[in-house]
Amino acid sequence: MQPFGLDLDYVAVVALFCVGLYMLVAKSNLLKKLLGLNVMETSVFAFIVTAGMVEGGDPPIMVAGTSAPYASPIPHAMVLTGIVVAVSVTAVALALIVQIHAHFGTIEIDELKELP
Amino acid sequence: MEVVDVRPILAPFVSFLCAGLVFGFGRSIFWRRFFTFLAAFIKMALVLSMLPGTLQGVVYVYQFVEFTPGIGIGFRADAYGMFFSLVSSTLWVFTTIYAIGYMQGDRDRVRFFGFFALCVSTTVGVAFAENLLTFFLFYETLTICTYPLVVHAETPEALRAGRIYLTYTLIGGGFALVGAVMTLNAAGTLTFAAPGILGMESGVATLAVIFLCLIIGFGVKAAIMPLHGWLPIAMVAPTPVSALLHAVAVVKVGAFGVTRVIYNVFGVELLRELGFATPLALLAGFTIVAASTIALTQDHLKRRLAYSTISQLSYIVLGAALLTPLAATAAVLHIANQAFAKITMFFVVGAITRTTGKKYVSEIDGIGARLPWSMAAFSIAALSFVGVPLTAGFITKWYLALGALEADAWWYVLVLITSSLLNAGYFFPILHRAYFRQAKEPWPPLEPGRRFETPKTLLFPIVICAAYVLLLGVTAEVPGMPFSVAQVAVDGFFAPVGGGP
């Protein structure tokens, strides 16, 4: 599945990354920015998981019914950690957004910049 | 002969400690004076205690810290450094006495005396610096420490003067830093040495850049002509500070630095080969004449003295740049001669302002009657600058002229003569007004209960300094006096070349 010598899975990941980045950069709404950040994060996780898969591989769980080749366990562990980190960052960001709204009454960056 | 001894570092440290004590306990007038005087005398004693050794050719050294091998802070009391520190530590005592009288009742005296002590500490540090890095460290510290003194009045005018002063000196410091860095890069060491530390192998272009950077760097404080702009403006400072700036610390440090660069960084031989000193000498000659001419037009007393200082400093630079032993002797000697004469003049001007409130030449008609002792001292200093025999200034001019002839540069003799005439031109009218004109209005009478024409803390340093000017002129050849130290220093500069005076 490699048209034009490009790995379609990876390209999709980059596309998602860019959609997220665009949201983060271009959107004025802070929540939208944060959603964009989350999309970016997921895309990087997808990149890592994709890299860890193997043609016709089973999950790296050595119980009856599975057989080699197995997917590599390390990327999975990395992504697990990454997801938890991402939710932590999101939680802090949301708490800040709530504060900004309570103080300024808006979460649009265009309006926040106009405030004195 | 080098001897490891703690005294070269102890001397600046005493003043430094004094500054700390003044900042800490200076609110009490007694303790402030006590610490200041104690430190002044201890330091003078320390410097004097090294004098016999110096005259026998002993060099005291002390390595303080080393950053990386070859780069560090070190102290070294060679004859030239000793000469300079003798001058500055002697003058510190007098300036302190004078400042106590002059600043009476002024505000922020803790700050004033604290930074005053720091200035002296760094000046001695400069004198005893063993290498260019140490020299630069103290040189820049001096810049920073004089700033609060310059802006002491806290008026907008003073702040502006301070800003100009800092701009000039810090940019100069930047050049000096670049020069020092390039020197280290070219020579691999920064330690001052008699034949110089640079060599032809660095390439003429590099050497030219280094020379230019170092001369600009130190020349700013020595007020060589295009770099002199800060000096007249910095006159807004209180008079003891002006005295300190013009006679003892700042400008002399610049001149000292130029001399060090010429003799201990480049060395006589290299400079003769390169020929860089000639344009410097020409520049100095130009400064001597031009600054004197400007001084003629100044009505403000301190500004007139300031331009006179610019002119006189270039005697030192000229002497150094001629690269002959006799001229060098003149340069070294002039550090002391100009210092004592100029400080006398500033003290007198300060006393005039304190006593009568006058600041302009045109206002002092007949003041000789009101301040006889002070004006007598002023006259001695003025004669010294003109170069009348038996005063200190004569010695300088004599040797400088001999040095110029030795270097086959007779036109500098013309410069000297012109300068003498110009000096007479701007000092004698002052004397004329003081002695031979009637006062426009009666001078304020003595305050009741005072015996002297002006507070005795002001008068005493004036008289002593004027006496020194005569003493230096009369006792030139007496061993143990500054002249012999200067000769040891010059011997050191020219020892590797041969042909001492």
Partner: protein, 497 residues
């Protein structure tokens, strides 16, 4: 081979982290206890790190395989000369925390102190881990600890604008962390390993390639953001200016250095693998550094707010460090490495002094703070020493660094940068003169300035201590060099010197 202190390596990281986890429990009855608790924990950590450094000095770099696994099999902690930065880091924390005890009175109610100190401990622990770890993914996780706690620390002091500054910081920081994760993943895909030394080896086998370079670029951008280099500095000024002053000191002095240390780690990998075009890269660094210096100074000059001005000067100073690294001559790198510490020291002095002044007077702009030196002489003196030091005038700590970097510039035959460096700093000083003039030589305009009192000793002590250190290290500039020189010699082979 390794001495007893090597065993302490993981504990030095874990101690502040666990201390943070315990902070809310310890301070459950008396929230103010948390300040002393955090200080105590940091003190013990400082002892541990001192032990680690002594081990480093005695026996050279050492590593620790966590869980007993071999280096590339599990996670490796590696204590080399760059890691020695953790000691001054923790010591500065130890000095800064007492300052915050009283300072926080006006910033937050008591019940929010435990989480605040927990964040401070987490920040410290995260940075120790960051400097010590030898594993790329672990580096990312530690980055997140540091970043997340920094975002929050920016916002603790106030509502509204503080939260906004923190959120800006968070968005930019999160993207940079993400780029780092992406680069880590790419290197992992390319080499199959996460251990730095191992990755370096395998990259050497692979040789270059676009993917390798893209990973490098991602790392570089990521760490540039963390270090607030010029084009990506936008998050820094607001965040550092609005945070409570002890936090500003930590952020400006230390957290931005995470970017520098990270960059050095990535160098070690890439230069070890010899897959990077050195000259071009160093040139880029030199220019970036120079631009940062100029732009930081340029922005700082227009600030009236003292903390904002200090924040911009951080950009400038990071520029010095990067310039020094890019010049890549021994002296320049020594200067840059010393500046990593000296800048932290100076910036801590300045921010704490500025914080004291703001705390006592309630004003934060130069025009309002005129004449403050009359009523707060010691703090103002510390501020003056800091100002002289940050522009690198002798005899202060800042001079030592500038001297070496300038020396390095000439050594590397980059004379124009040497000139730029020396005169750029003077240019900045002209601005600081305005500050000193306002503090010292102008009459007060506000009653609260004219009647301000000096800070309590728990605040003044750290400020005075730091200011005296600025002076002492200026004279005894060789002390940090003892540690820095071997580190630089360690690194220089990678630099092709």
């Amino acid at each position: 081979m390794t001495g007893p202190w090597a065993e302490a390596l993981p504990w030095a990281i874990v101690l502040p982290l666990v201390g943070a986890a315990l902070t809310p429990a310890v301070a459950v009855r008396h929230p103010r206890v948390s300040g002393f608790w955090a200080w105590g924990v940091l003190l013990v950590t400082a002892v541990l790190t001192a032990g680690l450094v002594s081990e480093l000095v005695a026996r050279g770099p050492f590593s620790y395989g966590l869980g007993g696994w071999a280096a590339s099999y599990g996670i490796e902690l590696r204590f080399d000369h760059f890691s020695a930065w953790v000691l001054p880091l923790v010591v500065l924390f130890v000095v800064i925390v007492p300052f915050s005890w009283r300072y926080l009175d006006h910033v937050m109610p008591d019940e929010r102190r435990p989480p605040f100190y927990a964040l401070l401990l987490l920040n410290a622990g995260g940075m120790i881990g960051f400097c010590v770890t030898g594993d790329l993914f672990n580096l990312f996780v530690f980055t997140e600890v540091v970043s997340l706690s920094s975002y929050a620390l920016v916002a603790v002091g106030g509502r509204g604008l503080a939260a906004f500054a923190a959120l800006k910081y968070l968005f930019i920081g999160a993207v940079s962390s993400l780029l780092m994760l992406f680069a880590t993943a790419q290197l992992f895909v390319l080499s199959g390993s996460l251990n730095m030394a191992d990755v370096s080896l395998r990259l050497g086998e692979i040789g270059g390639g676009t993917a390798v370079m893209v990973a490098f670029a991602a790392y570089a951008v990521s760490f540039m953001v963390k270090a607030a280099m010029f084009p990506v500095h936008v998050w820094l000024p607001d965040a550092h200016a609005i945070a409570p002053s002890p936090v500003s000191a930590v952020l400006s002095g230390m957290v931005v250095k995470v970017g520098i240390v990270g960059m050095l780690r990535i160098y070690q990998i890439y230069f070890g693998a010899e897959v990077l075009e050195l000259g071009a890269f160093n040139l880029a660094l030199v220019w970036l550094g120079a631009i940062s210096i100029v732009m930081g100074a340029f922005f700082a000059i227009f600030q009236d707010d003292i903390k904002l001005m200090l924040a911009y000067s951080t950009i400038s100073n990071i520029g010095y460090i990067v310039l020094g690294l890019g010049l890549a001559s021994p002296y320049a790198v020594i200067g840059a490495a010393v500046h990593v510490f000296n800048h932290a020291l100076i910036k801590a002095t300045l921010f704490l002094a500025a914080g004291s002044i703001i705390h006592q007077t309630g004003f934060r702009t130069l025009s309002d703070l005129r004449g403050v030196a009359r009523t707060m002489p010691q703090t103002s003196a510390a501020m003056a020493i800091g100002a002289v030091s940050i522009v690198g005038l002798p005899p202060t700590a800042g001079f030592v660094c500038k001297w070496y970097i300038a020396l390095g510039a000439f050594e590397a035959n980059q004379a124009p940068f040497g000139f730029a460096l020396v005169f750029g700093a003077l240019f900045i000083f002209i601005y600081y003169i305005r500050m000193l003039n306002a503090f010292y030589f102008q009459p007060p305009v506000h009653a609260s300035v004219a009647q301000a009192s000096e800070t309590p000793w728990s605040m003044r002590g750290p400020v005075v201590l730091l200011a005296s250190l600025c002076l002492i290290l200026g004279v005894l500039g060789g002390i940090p060099l003892t540690f820095v020189e071997p580190a630089v010699l360690d690194l220089l082979p990678f630099w092709g010197q």
